[in-house]
Symmetry: C2
Subunit: 191 residues, 2 copies
């Protein structure tokens, strides 16, 4: 049995990574979704090992220490990271696993897992991205401009990825990602 593939779906904030991942689930039921570890408290209905692996700060720091995370970051006082073990066990079992992650995190995963398939989700246009970022709430123009400039920086990192998928329509974006996974399974790898 051959090993599964690790697919990393990334892209600037606001591009629709989460929406595309959710739409992909019923289309590719055999695809496993990576479960993050976090130090934040479980919210109502969240299950350990399903939504997140819930860890104490001490446990998380010792995972970092032991190189048990493919990447990690701190957001508003809590740690979030990708447990290497869950990814590797899934791949060993012959199943594909997808990891939805920010651009900086994806580049860290690439250092530890260069054989991953790195997919960059692109907005149809920068105007469209601005609309989506603006549409999220009633943010101050400075905040929107800052987010746009971060997004532009992130898009300039696309060259480190294997594939670019335009998120013009969810179904089309899903079909492109599904096609990439099927094609990668057909790829003849050098011995």
């Amino acid at each position: 049995m051959s090993k599964g593939l690790l697919i990393i779906l990334s892209g600037p904030s606001g591009v629709g990574k989460g929406t595309v991942c959710t739409a992909l689930r019923p289309k590719m039921p055999e695809l496993i979704y990576s479960v993050s570890a976090t130090t934040r408290s479980p919210r109502a209905g969240e299950e350990d090992g399903v939504n997140y692996f819930f860890k104490s700060r001490e446990q998380f720091l010792s995972m970092i220490e032991a190189d048990q995370l493919l990447e990690y970051a701190e957001y508003v006082g809590n740690y979030y990271g990708t447990p290497r073990d869950f990814v590797e066990r899934t791949l060993e079992s012959g199943k594909d696993i997808i990891l939805e992650i920010e651009v900086q995190g994806a580049l860290k995963v690439k250092e530890k897992f260069p054989e991953g398939i790195f997919v960059f989700l692109l907005p149809p246009s920068m105007d469209e991205l601005k609309d989506r970022i603006r549409g999220r709430g009633t943010e101050h123009p400075d905040v929107i401009n800052h987010r746009m400039s971060v997004a532009e920086d992130e898009i300039s990192l696309m060259q480190h990825y294997d594939y670019a998928v335009v998120n013009d329509e969810i179904d089309l974006a899903c079909k492109r990602i599904e096609s990439i996974i099927i094609a990668e399974h057909c790829k003849i790898r050098e011995l």
Copy 2:
């Protein structure tokens, strides 16, 4: 506008290249099929520029001379070849073109067109291939064994290809080829 892709569909004789190509037409109507040049006479209903480019022996030899063929071969006294011009004009127009060809011919195309996407069509098993070769007619066992040994040699050349597609079911094989083409359009090429 970006250039189209050249897809080379190849594999051992008996694997079903022609059947897969025919099944692919209605599924991918935008895909252009390469038209071969030949010195054989047109059969009833065959049109110049549609089924083949019909050439005199002299014309064909001067095309070889002028390096106007991506590959060519002689079968039972007639020449067959792939005109470079038709392929290049299609690619320049932004359209994808598929070329169905024997293994030796594909490797010659690769020398002149390394940026092509080389897809190797595989039988589900060697037993299945033997059945298909046997099923073609009432051939002598020596002929069948010779064809099988040629097919084995050809399969050993698969390592020079980019993708391997198993022809277990026509529809699945078509979906894999379609996926490869979609994925290749999403690929981020190094600058």
